[in-house]
């Protein structure tokens, strides 16, 4: 297709395979090719702020709202959510398996000084993790380099590293579900409502970025938010398990 738009996105949507499922459907319908640049949250927002994309699709609500407020984006829409989970080795040295209270689980991990691999990259996931530590009253900064290990990399890389060192990892469910390097790792903690992970979608502001293909970009967003798009999101499965839960009806924020 010679009609195309560029979507700045985070890696979870790409690595989980969600976009591979959604985009061909949209392209078949609209004739618009969707080019995805999947990078870290901060980089995705920065790229969008530099006008290097038509649509932004990330999961870091406060940062997204700031982006819109500064005029980088037109409007933010809730698109879907999934949840974060804590994975860990079968041996489970801190004994957190089966817990549903993330805060408590983190406290146990800290008490046991069991290795924990943090993304440490200011991503949405990392911000969520930090707020959980804060709530748990653990000063991870002091433990950095000891049992608390900031990998400073993407979700998939952090899982690889965590697996390599036998550390607990906080990850979004989709990335973990699609991850192949599991080495006996399991989801140990899930189900806490604090582990909620909201994705949003934003059209880059054509008033600030004249190069933005506002019509094409908005059409893509409209499709994502439409019944068809939302159904497609809901239909995406890994091992028969739904990964993302469309929630567009809550509409713009």
């Amino acid at each position: 297709a010679d009609k195309f738009i560029v979507v700045q996105s985070t890696t979870s949507t790409q690595n989980s395979g969600l976009l591979d499922e959604l985009l061909p459907k949209y392209t078949a319908k609209s004739g618009t090719e969707v080019r995805v640049v999947a990078v870290g949250t901060g980089q995705a927002i920065k790229n969008a702020a530099n006008c290097d994309g038509d649509v932004l699709l990330v999961h870091a609500k406060p940062a997204e709202e700031k982006f819109v407020a500064e005029g980088g984006g037109v409007k933010r829409f809730d698109l879907m959510h999934n949840d974060f989970v804590i994975i860990g080795p079968e041996s489970d040295p801190a004994g957190v398996a089966g817990m549903t209270d993330a805060e408590a689980a983190l406290k146990k991990i800290a008490a046991a000084k069991a290795p924990f691999a943090s993304r440490g990259d200011e991503s949405g996931t990392h911000q969520k993790e930090r707020s959980l530590w804060k709530a748990a009253g653990v000063d991870v900064k002091a433990a950095s380099g000891d049992w608390y290990r900031e990998t400073g990399s993407g979700m998939g890389e952090t899982i690889n590293t965590g697996v390599g060192m036998g550390a607990y990892v906080l990850t979004d469910r989709a990335t973990w579900s699609a991850h192949k390097n599991r080495a006996g790792y399991k989801i140990l903690v899930e189900g806490d409502k604090d582990l909620f992970n909201q994705y949003g979608v934003i059209l880059v502001n054509p008033a600030k970025c004249p190069n933005v293909k506002a019509d094409l970009g908005q059409d893509f967003i409209d499709w994502l938010l439409s019944k068809e798009g939302q159904d497609a999101i809901a239909a995406f499965r890994i091992n028969g398990e739904q990964q993302f839960f469309p929630d567009a009806q809550k509409s713009a924020s």
Partner: protein, 235 residues
């Protein structure tokens, strides 16, 4: 450890299945890196030779800088180019960001100092022998550079090959300016990085083997060319 065996199988399987997507990725890798190396050679070889030939105030410093630039971090090169090519950048209107052209430029920037620095050493070595003879022939600087490059051509191939190795294996710069966009700017190394982040280590390794085989093929072709090239009159 079964990953190694698994990697070999995946690699063989991929090649055997003659995957269309894989072919596209392989061809783009070759196109980008070969073009980048040719461009880098076009600039780097004369540049290195000029630095071997000319002595001027500051030329020693320039050589140090050039040698140091062999250590240009790809991510930094990618970033600088990104800022230039971004729509917010001065070259934004060219619309080159997230295109193979941007990737070629990035690799060429990375590889030019390597080729130039290695060429400088090679040319300086042969020049020790030629200098006075060329001087008495009244050869201009320009002709001297051309002559030294030509007469050192077989040794210079190693510099070019080193540059190609750097380019084809590079990921940090191309992923920033190319964006690793499926069907548009996805090359072997960015695919390997992607599969690694997905935890597909065996697939990543398998792709790595295919990439290395490609590199070996390119090198074998170069070596073959060198050997069969009419070496008449060269001794």
């Amino acid at each position: 450890m079964q990953d190694f065996g698994s990697a070999v199988w995946q690699a063989l399987g991929l090649v055997a299945s003659f995957d269309r997507d894989l072919l596209e990725i392989v061809l783009l890798s070759l196109r980008v890196s070969l073009t980048a190396v040719l461009a880098a050679g076009l600039v780097g070889l004369p540049l290195g030779a000029v630095l071997a030939v000319l002595r001027f105030p500051g030329s020693g410093l320039l050589v140090v800088l050039l040698n140091a630039m062999m250590g240009l971090p790809p991510v930094v090169v990618g970033l600088v180019l990104y800022l230039l090519l971004s729509h917010a950048g001065v070259l934004g209107p060219l619309n080159l960001l997230y295109t193979p052209t941007a990737m070629i430029v990035a690799q060429a920037v990375l590889v030019t100092p390597i080729i130039a620095a290695l060429a400088r050493q090679t040319v300086a070595d042969i020049r020790g022998e030629y200098r006075e003879q060329l001087q008495v022939l009244g050869v201009s600087r320009r002709t001297e550079v051309a002559t030294l490059l030509w007469d050192a051509r077989y040794s210079l191939l190693t510099a070019m090959v080193a540059g190609f190795g750097r380019a084809i294996a590079e990921v940090g710069a191309v992923i920033i300016v190319g964006g690793n966009i499926n069907h548009v700017t996805r090359v072997m190394t960015t695919t390997i990085a992607l599969e690694t982040s997905k935890g597909n280590l065996a697939l990543a390794l398998g792709l790595g083997m295919i990439l290395l085989s490609l590199t070996i093929l390119v090198n074998a072709a170069v070596q073959g060319l060198r050997a069969t090239a009419a070496r008449t009159a060269y001794a």
